[in-house]
Each structure stands twice: as C-alpha cells, then as structure tokens.
Amino acid sequence: MNPLLVQFLSEASDCLEGIAAKLMQLEKRPGDSDLMNELFRFVHTLKGNSGLFDFPEMTRVLHAAEDLMDAVRTGAVRQTKNFTDEILDAMDFVGGLTREIEAHGHYADTHRDEAVRIAHGLRALLSSGEAATSSVQETSTSPILASLPPQSFQRVPEAVKAALSNHIKYGESCFWIVYKPEEGCFFQGDDPFYLARHTPGQIWGCVENREPWAPPAALDPYRCIVDFQILAVAFKEELADHFRYVPDQVKILEVLPQWLHPQAVAHTHSDSNPASGTQQSEDALSEEIFESLTQVFRAQRVILEVAQDASDKKRRLSRIGTTLLNCAKAIGQPPELLEKIAALAKAAQESGDATALLTWMQDFQNAGFRSIATAKEEKVSAASETRSVEEAIEAKNAARSEEGSPASLAGTVAKSLKVDQVKIDRLMNLIGELVVSKNAIPYLAQRAENQFGVRELSREIKSQYSVINRIAEEMQDAIMQIRMMPVSVVFQRFPRLVRDISRKLGKEVSLVLEGEETEADKNIIEALADPLIHIVRNSLDHGLETPEVRKAQGKPATGTLTIRATQEADRAVIEITDDGKGINPEVVKRKAHEKGVIDEETLERISDEDAIHLIFAAGFSTAEVVSDLSGRGVGMDVVRSAVEKINGTIDLQSRVGKGTRLRISLPLSMAVTQVMIIESDGQIFGVPMDHVVETVRVPRSAVRVIKSAQMTLLRGRLVPLKTLNTLLRIPAKPQTSADDEYAVLVVRVGTDTLGVIVDEFRETVDVIQKPMTGVLSGLQAYSGSALMGDGSVLMVLNLKEII
C-alpha cells in the first residue's frame, strides 16, 4: 500500500477517535466553544486529508459534517441530540470505509447511496429541511412530472429521437442527463465538458449557457456557467458511476416512451439516419432483422462485461469477434467493414482491452446497423484519442504517486524495524528511573565515608558509579536516537499537496525542500505535521499570486515555496518562505478590528510588525470566501497553539509584494527538559529554562510600590514583581539575603517579562518530566513532576497558569 495512504489511515483512526471522544464530552458540556473548535478541527483535517485520495464518498460525508459543525460552531444552528447522532452516524460510516480501505486498499462502490443519504441527513440539519428537498434528485420527482419530458428535451433533433425510440422499443434503458456544473468547479480541477463528452453510451449531447454572456471585457472564463444535456443508452449504475464526483450537479432521468412524439415512435430506423453509407445497406433492414441484431449485440456486450475479469477472456473475445463478423456478413456489409471488425476483435484479444470494440458496437448500433464506412476513420481516431488521453492521465497519476513516495523511502522502510511506540516509551521510562537511581549512588558513597568512615569503599563506589553513569548516559542517548525521526517524514507529503492545491487554484508553484534529513523527536515531528500543512495551504492560497498577476508585477510566473529544516544548537528550525504578495499590515489591522480581535485604540498605535502577527489571533481569517483549502479561520491560531504546545516558538516576517517567511523553532526532544531549581519557603520548585531570562538580586530599597503593585527598575526598564509565595498562596514572607537583597527570577511568559521573587536560586538540571496524572492532573499550577537524584520529587511550575 502507498505509504501516504498508510499514513492517512493511521491519522484517520486518530481523528475518528478524537471526534468520538470530543462528541461525548460535548454532549455533557453543550456549548463549550473550545471543545467545538477541537471537534471541528478534527473533521476539517480528516476531510482535507481524504481529499488527497480518490474517496469521493468519504470526502462528501466529511464535507457535509464540516459544514454542519461550522454552523453549530458559529451559532447559526443549535446543537441538538440529533446533531450528535448524525455526526456519530457519519463518522461510523467513515470509519467503516477506512477499515475497508485498510483491508483491501479501496472500498466497494456500493456505498455511494449511503454517502448521499448521510450527507443529505447532515445538510438537512443545517438548513432545517429546506435544502433537503432540493438536493434530492430524481427520487423527489413526482410520477406525473416524470412522465412528461423536461423542457430542454425538445431540443433533441427528430432523427435522434427516432433512433432513441428504437432503443427504448428493444428494451434498452435510455437516460436524459442534465449536468449543471458548479460555478467554481474549474478551481477544483473539474472539466465538465470532458466529463460530459465521455458519458458512457452517449448518443447525443449539447451544451448551452445558463445565463446571458457578459461582454468580453467583463467575462470571467473561470466561472462555469454552461450546462450540458446528454442522451445516453447505458445502465443507470454506469452513469451514476461516471458522475460519481458530482452527483449533486446531475439529474439522471429515464427516458420514457411517452416523452417521444407519437409519430417518432411509429417511425422506424429506416428513415432515421440520413447519413447512409454504401449501396448494399441503402435499403432499410427489416424490423425482424433489426430486432435480432439488437439482441445479438446486447448479448455480446453482456459477455464482454462479464469477460472483463474472466480467465478465458481471450477465447470469449475471439468468439465475440466471430459473431460480429457473421452478423455483418449476414446483413451484407462491405468488406472494409468486415476487415475492421476483425482488426478490432484482434486488437482487443491482444491487449485485453475491449473499449474500442465496445465503442464501435455502440456506434454501429446507434447508426441503425448501417455501414458507417464514411465515419469509420473518425471512429478509429476517436478510439485512439480516448485511449491516448487516458494513457496521459494514467502516466500523470503514476508520476504523481511516485512524487508522493520518494524512492529513497522504500529503502529505509525495508531496513527499519517497526516497533510499537508503547515499547519505546517503556524503555524511556526505565532509563529515566535508571538515571535517577544511579544518581543516588554518590549519596551512598558520601554516607560510606562520613557515616561509616570507610574511605576505600567510598572511592570504589565512586569509580563504579562513573562507569554506570557513562553507560546510562549513552543508553539514554541511544534511546533518544530511536525516537528521532527525520523531518522528511512530514516533508514527503508536500510535493503532492502543493501540486494538487496549486492546480486547484490555477497557480504555478515550485516547491523547494531543504534539510530533510534534520532529525527531531517523534512526538515533535508528529505534532509538526498539521501546523505545517496549514501553513503551506495558507501560503498557496493567500500568499502566492496567480501567474498572470506575478507576470504583471515583473516576477517569474512560477512562485517559489521553500521549506527548509536546519538544526541550531539544541533546536530544530523550520522555515517556510514564499515569494508571494506578502501580508499587508493595513489589511490585517482593518480585518482584525472588524472581527473584534483588536479595539480602536490598538488599531491606532499597533506597529506593522505587530500587526502581521495578528493573523495568529483566534478568530482571525482574512479569507473572503470559505474555500476547500483554507480560510475557515482555523488556520493560523491553531498553528500557533500547536507549536507552543510542543514548546516551540513561531516568528513571522513579511514584506508586501516580496513574500513571507515563517520560522518555527522547536526543541529537538521533549523527553529531557532543562529546569532551574528555585527555593521558596523551604520547598524546591523547577522552572523551565525556556522561560528564564536572567537571575538578579534586587536590594529591598530598589523595590517600588506603584498602586499596590511592586515594581523595580532593571537597566532602565520597569519590571513588575510578583512573589512566588503569593502566587502559590504560601503564607510566608519572601526572605532576603544577608545583604538585604531579594532573589528575583526574571521570566518571559508570552510577550510579557516579569520578575518572580523567590527565596534562593539553585542549580539547573536536566530532568525527565512526567505529566501530572490522576487526581493531580487538576493542578494547573504545575506542568509536571520529576524525580531528583536523591529520590525527592521536584514539582515543575507552569508559569503561564500561575501568573
């Protein structure tokens, strides 16, 4: 299975689990906007990912679910029990599909109706039943209405109607298809004309504009306003399958005999086709022969279809060829035609592809079993043309899938060992314990010397300790290495993603990936995937311009998107750079104000630099139109919170007209945290070094009280002071040193800098932080705990929460 698909499946199951859990929580706490947002994000991600594959049913259902959630999220629709039921139903359906994909690589095409039903159910909730009736297709047409031909049917020429009546007469199912493509369908890579032209069994078609044309200067060629009408002799399933990506844009109606003019029914095929061929077939075939031929041809088609997968396909094909030849001889067809049949049958036998033969049979039958010698050559070129287009598409797809899975990957997969993460985590825990218990040995050596006075033993213990220490450290390093993954795991999705999105948007983008071998902890890499996808989507959607605009501005038509990973000291840095239009601070400011993200006062004084950072604010989105790609306002604020969650920082630089650069800096590993130990009221606490700016001693006299808040002047800057004891509600006064100085730990939380008064500073240590579990998980003041070498427990403060 394609590695991309494997990844999709594992992510899909995570997403589905998340959705189920959130839905349950949401039912207990209805109206919780955070939960709703998280739920929405899950569905949004899942929908986006499913769009990468050929799973239209899945995407359809998820899209409907997403729209519904968006409406609930914004309060347009109330969250009811029904809502939970419908979403759960939909997710069960999606879950079923993923399991089927996991087992077989694809799912059976029997799910189409159910997908439409579920999506319809979701949309019904969305519009309280109004849109429901309009999106149901032929099923909702009343029987009386169905018996009348649609207005547009009158356009069909009489000759075609006559041929049609023959098909109906001989029991073949004929359909009238009205295809009204969406206005924005070109942006989704659709070509409605191509789809209409290649409708199976098509005997007639026409295209017309659904509204008057705009004057040339105002014409938007990329807004689709043409409709297609098609007559086809085919099975309904075939047609439904052909239009499976756009079932809501087509109407497929069975052509009923009463649709046709009574005279037309009475007509025979004899005068139905003015394009006559050779002398022999100038005269009409008798009705009896016509009927027999129709039956023979139908039987052959059935055999061909059945033969598709049969082992004796070749034999069957050769027999069909003989039958057709005999039929043609019996009705006196010219030798050229006989030769052509033989050639087609032979080609089909050799290639195993009977498409050309089927096309010919259909054409011959449509022409009323007359020689189509004049049109013969065109038919051949038509068949080969269809094939060449198909081949081109296939070749493209092949190239695409190759791009999605670099050849180098195959090598690494083969050599690597797949281990459950739980096992690695266990190793990680064990080595953590080993490090801690190893640290107890020096204490033991000290006791041996001080308490029992055996210096010799103490020295020996110490030398043994240094050996154990070295091994333990190496082991820790080795285990960390196991968890390290190259960023290429995430990067490999981008070529495909960029290609698909830029195509949808009609933009030309060249993607440059650098430093794919840069490694970081598995958790970090995994947490990075979603934010990066959001960023890339945003860059493509909002950053890079269309080739026309770029050319007009004197830039190369092809935009460049660079994703570069580098390692800087103990951090991995990922830069996403585009040479697009940049972020206009004025536009951002105005939007932020409109959306209530900033107030009037901030609007006035905010700097351009700060203004562009407003795109990270929750609820901010500059997209005018909700699109398939981005612009639902889940983008950048999610990115920032995801990066911050893994102790990363994000920085944005942008120049209007030049481009945008996003820089994400991440720790290499989450396993080891460097903390500074501080003491207050006889207890020790840890403070993550990421927050610590400096440690200073401030004389008591330098502490000023302004409006009951303590402040001090530090190198010309006013720094607010807070006492740790007060923050933790410890009923004790902060202690000063012998020189009457306070120990002040200057920390940065977000963008604020402030001083925390503690009793004493201690050393900084590397600890393996354990999250708070059980009843302790409710303690927001601590981000976790760590075991110290002497066996004591260090509580690590969560500064964001307590300040």
Partner: protein, 78 residues
C-alpha cells in the same frame, strides 16, 4: 503550445487546457475578425469552450472527430 496564435487565426492543437482560457480571451478581444481552427484539436477545456461561446467566434475548421464536432457545433454554430 496547445493554441498557436497566427495573425488572425488561432490554431488549436491536441488539448486546450484550462490555463489557455485567459490568453485566448485576451487574444480574441484584441482581434477584429478572429478565426479559430479546431482541426487538430482533440479536446478543449470547458473554460475555453465558454470563451468561444461567449464571444461568438467564427470557427473556420471543425475537429475531425465526429462526436466532438457535434458537441461543439451544438454550442458554436450559428
């Protein structure tokens, strides 16, 4: 180049893709009496079809393939 622009005539070759629609529209607007030759054409993207329909362009030569020609004639012959 799937569309070859000559002095007053645009020759469509093989498949005219979605990207062609804008240049085609611009070219047709520039010319007083633009003519279009579809002889060597096997498919045109719907966007191009719309442009040809909207500007009521004179088609000099139709494509060879019968059904394709029928489709185009349903939309473009006047």
């Amino acid at each position: 180049m799937p569309i070859e622009y000559k002095k007053n005539q645009a020759n469509f070759l093989d498949v005219a893709t979605v990207e062609e629609a804008e240049p085609l529209l611009a070219w047709l607007q520039e010319k007083k009496k633009p003519k279009v030759d579809l002889k060597g054409c096997t498919h045109i993207h719907s966007a191009n079809l719309q442009v040809l329909m909207a500007l009521n362009v004179k088609i000099n030569t139709w494509p060879e393939e019968e059904r394709f020609r029928a489709w185009l004639q349903s939309a473009l012959s006047h």
